[in-house]
Amino acid sequence: MAAKIHIQEGTATYRKYRIAMWTCFIISLLLVAFAYVDVGTISIGSNKYNLSLIRLDKAIAFTIAILGLQVVVGYTGQIALGQSFFFGTGAYLSAWLVADHSWPFLMTLLVVIPSCFLIGMILGLPALRIRGLYLALLTFGLAAVFPSIVKLDKLYTYTGGAGGKLTSNYKFVAPSWLPFDKVAEGLQKIPFLGGFFGDGPLSDREESRMWKFILFSIIAAICFWLVSNLIQSRPGRAMRAVRDNETSAATSGINLAATKTLSFGVASALGGVGGVIYVAEIGIASPDDFSSLLAIYLIVGLVVGGVGTLSGALIGGLVYALIPDWASSTQSISFLPQRWLQGPTGSLILGLLLIVLTLFLPGGIVAGWRKVKKRFLQIDSATF
């Protein structure tokens, strides 16, 4: 076994390690963005797998929604399954403002965040009395009714009924001061690997796609930063205390009602932000995108990444955005009959992942990764 490296938390080495890790992460993100800004595919065998920025933008939207689930399920321990409700609310609110009032997409966040926060808090009120399985039941019901609410005839002018609400009137235009072309040209000059980054300067379409990706990534980064601060602050510690034992939390002077309501509000607001990004990417909000299946898939994302880990949300978002798509583009595997590759293979894989991970790796992929990492690198926590 390789020698273990020890790093003491709070030292200069630790800081350098953190900075190096983050720089690597951001650089690789940009490289991926430039490599796949044109419709990018990876070929394995005779199957082509899509890895365009469109997929990654969707992944960001799901990531933010799953981040919300991390707050309410992972850190506060309330089994709330209805994230798709708030995802849909955010998406529809934003689509309505953009399509009917020609707001720019990012401006709609100013309305979506507070309204989803409020709705989440109000719908979270019953959760003060309803616990455990009953809450799971009720929130699942909430997720199930969302499509029938937006399909209501009375809301047709706002939601566009069963056909959905188009937002194609708004286009993301990249500001001209961003040196996309120069970066692209620079990357194309790299020997051997330059071919991955396409040919010549980016077209307008590609530039706008790149701009969207960067914007969404920044929004996601802000959400992660805020949530991680929240988790480490006093209300965040209160949430974890509520998760671990409600009675003892209450006896230590934690206001159960306030803590739970806050976590519901934050989770719903994050769900709303995810919905805004989703509709900004897709260009249409259609009712059946936000069904109870989405609610289950978001739970899959939560569990696959790891319940109660922030980075797990990112993995979960990627898994949900990529796996069903890749599964449906797998047209031939030599040892499987063709018949098994048509139909909802993605949902089969996600369901199996959910079961297998819960049985064998309860902490999700993040916990597995941490176990592997621990063999090579030990970060000793600071002692005060």
């Binding site: 399920v73 321990g77 089994i79 399954l81 019953p126 009395r129 309803i130 455990g132 399985l133 009953y134 799971a136 039941l137 009720l138 699942f140 019901g141 909430l142 199930a144 009714v145 029938s148 609410i149 399909k151 209501l152 005839d153 009375k154 009675t247 109870s292 289950i296 739970i299 899959v300 569990v303 319940v307 018949r339 098994w340 048509q342 139909g343 909802p344 293979t345 949902s347 089969l348 996600l350 369901g351 199996l352 992942l353 959910l354 079961i355 819960t358 049985l359 309860p362």
Partner: protein, 307 residues
């Protein structure tokens, strides 16, 4: 969900007709709800995959019938099949978890939900198929425009029969006694020599068999067809029915089912500001009200919290 064409009917006739619809729908919800109640009694767990398990069972019934097995024989074999499958699932996936820790169990049943739904769709495809008629077709009687179909009568009767059979099973047989012991106190029943695992498996098998019968009757409704997603709506409605009746009461499931059917087919129709499509939402609102004001339901035992 049953929309009978009315040309012109007297108000009273219409009301009666809607009540019959309510009974029809309510009985099928009650059968799925009974399955949930059985599992909740045994393990204090709500099985989100119950509807899908039942749907899979109904597809097996349809497949057997296609192969030429007589109808009720196919139903019996389908019930056995899903019972065995459920017993296996309980052993493989559920038993290793602590029943008091709800999150992993909810996640596992949600995973089962996705897997069963996908497998059924891969094997039988998404397109709706018509299900053979389990009961004689036509109406038992028709006066003016009031039609009481044989289907309604038989659906309700089978629901009541199932409940009687289950109650007898639980109160008169040895394994039923063990089941009741386990559902009242796992620790003490283990100490008195009851095999907990086998008993729980029995509960799961019984629930799945009842669910399959429910789904078969549901799909045999002349106006409905069988498809992999048919239980999505029914799941919410049945869960609400189960919660309404009290999650641990068998007869409560019937009361809950009929109430939900009544809300769906009668109450919603007479409240002008609630559109027709909102019947699912109405059920969720009923669920909310029940959980807030009477979490133990109509007939359920109240939970006592000891500190």
């Amino acid at each position: 969900m049953l929309y009978v064409e009315h040309i012109w009917v007297h108000d009273m006739d219409l009301l009666l007709q809607r009540v019959f619809d309510a009974v029809t729908n309510g009985s099928t919800y009650a059968l799925i709800a009974v399955a949930m109640v059985l599992i909740f009694k045994a393990t204090t767990l709500i099985n989100f995959a119950q509807g899908e398990q039942a749907m899979l069972g109904a597809f097996v019934v349809l497949q057997l019938w296609d192969w030429g097995v007589p109808m009720w024989g196919a139903v019996a074999i389908g019930m056995c099949f899903s019972g065995v499958l459920a017993a296996f699932l309980e052993r493989a996936l559920i038993r290793k978890f602590d029943p008091a820790d709800h999150l992993p169990l909810v996640i596992i049943t949600l995973g089962l939900f996705l897997v069963i739904n996908a497998v059924a769709a891969i094997i039988w495809r998404f397109d709706p198929k018509s299900f053979p008629e389990l009961f004689p077709s036509g109406n038992a009687f028709a006066i003016n425009n009031i039609r009481l179909s044989w289907y309604t009568i038989f659906a309700f009767t089978s629901c009541v029969i199932v409940l009687f059979v289950l109650q007898t099973l639980l109160s008169k047989t040895k394994i039923g006694l063990a089941f009741r012991a386990v559902s009242s106190n796992i620790e003490s029943s283990r100490l008195s020599g009851i095999k907990i695992g086998t008993t729980l498996q029995f509960g799961w098998a019984l629930a799945a068999a009842a669910g399959t019968l429910g789904a078969s009757i549901y799909a045999a409704n002349p106006v409905l067809q069988i498809e992999p997603s048919m239980m999505l709506r029914a799941l919410i409605l049945s869960v609400t029915a189960a919660a309404l009746g009290g999650l641990d009461s068998l007869w409560g499931a019937l009361i809950g089912g009929l109430t939900i059917g009544f809300v769906q087919s009668v109450v919603v129709q007479y409240i002008p500001f609630i559109p027709n499509e909102m019947s699912l939402s109405a059920a969720v609102i009923v669920l909310l009200i029940v959980l807030i004001f009477r979490p133990s339901g109509v007939l359920g035992t109240r939970a006592v919290e000891r500190v």
